[in-house]
């Protein structure tokens, strides 16, 4: 949808994912979109170097998010929000519906 503007469909996917979910890691994003892990990693790294994303480590995992200090963050979020409205409802729901509440270790389902 914003591929022409962002230059890559995976860059759009990464930004959209992080806009909706707030944070995410490369394998999680690549699994969600069923796409190549290395391509997602490349986009995450590029966006971090460009100041659009931040990253932090959580255990052994590098977690990314939209950088709150990015000067165009508000405008970027508005663009992503608008783009999200054009996504199919089921895709939007899939992106938004994620279990955030805690799950006790060993709990069967």
């Amino acid at each position: 949808m914003l591929e022409a503007l962002f230059g890559s469909v995976n860059r759009e996917r990464v930004l959209l994912f992080l806009y909706v979910r707030k944070e995410g890691y490369s394998r999680e994003i690549s699994r969600f979109f069923r796409t190549d892990l290395s391509q997602i990693q490349k986009q995450l790294e590029r966006l971090e170097v460009g100041g659009t994303l931040y990253s932090r480590t959580l255990g052994k995992t590098r977690v990314y998010g939209l950088n709150p200090r990015y000067p165009f963050r508000v405008q970027l979020e508005a663009l992503l929000d608008r783009a999200l409205a054009f996504y199919p409802a089921e895709e939007r729901e899939r992106l938004m519906m994620i279990r955030r509440r805690p799950r006790r270790k060993g709990k069967p389902l």
Binding site: V49, G51, P68, R69, P71, R73, V74
Partner: protein
């Protein structure tokens, strides 16, 4: 001319800035290096962040710095004679979500680099404190305020624009106390 090994952070920044300027690369010193300069070394940074006012190519920057003996390693430029290293973070030149309106020029024996004003330097550090709750950034803010003239009203206005007025009010007394210290 001093060797790079003997240059202070400010002298090296001025030397590099002048060289880049001669090559038509228009940049401003930002980040922890400004804190280091404004606190005359109370806070020591080894990272010289230059943000370009108008983006030029990485190749052009590399070619200019190679002339001085720097080499590129990952995202940094290093030199065998100095522990300081250079970085060129992506622009635009901003503090939080606002563009930097004016920079200041300081005089060193090696040149006159453009850098963030003390007030913008405080905003830059506060942005890190506000968004990451980074206590080191707050301490750097207070160190800069202690030895420089800071426009507190402007910092308050900017904090409000950033949606961080409550946070500003929380640290305002600390800022004023440090500022008023002789």
């Amino acid at each position: 001319m001093k060797s790079l090994a003997d240059m202070s952070l400010g002298e090296l920044a001025a030397f590099v800035w002048t060289h880049l300027h001669r090559h038509g690369i228009n940049c401003v010193l930002t980040g922890g290096a400004c804190v280091s300069i404004y606190t005359t070394g109370c806070y020591q940074s080894y990272d010289l962040d230059f943000v370009e006012r108008v983006p030029s190519s990485r190749k052009r920057i590399r070619e200019a710095l190679v002339e001085l003996g720097f080499f590129e390693e990952s995202r940094y430029f290093k030199h065998p004679e100095t522990k300081f290293f250079l970085e060129f973070p992506a622009g635009p030149l901003s503090v939080g979500s606002e563009p930097v309106k004016a920079t200041v020029t300081l005089e060193f024996p090696t040149g006159q680099p453009a850098l963030l004003s003390p007030t913008d330097c405080v905003k830059d550090r506060l942005a890190a404190y506000y968004h990451w709750n980074d206590q080191q950034s707050l301490e750097q803010t207070l160190l800069v305020a202690q030895s420089n003239r800071i426009d507190i009203g402007e910092v308050r206005r900017w904090s409000d624009e950033e949606g961080k007025l409550t946070e500003f009010e929380t640290i305002k007394q600390q800022l004023l106390a440090r500022r008023n210290r002789p």
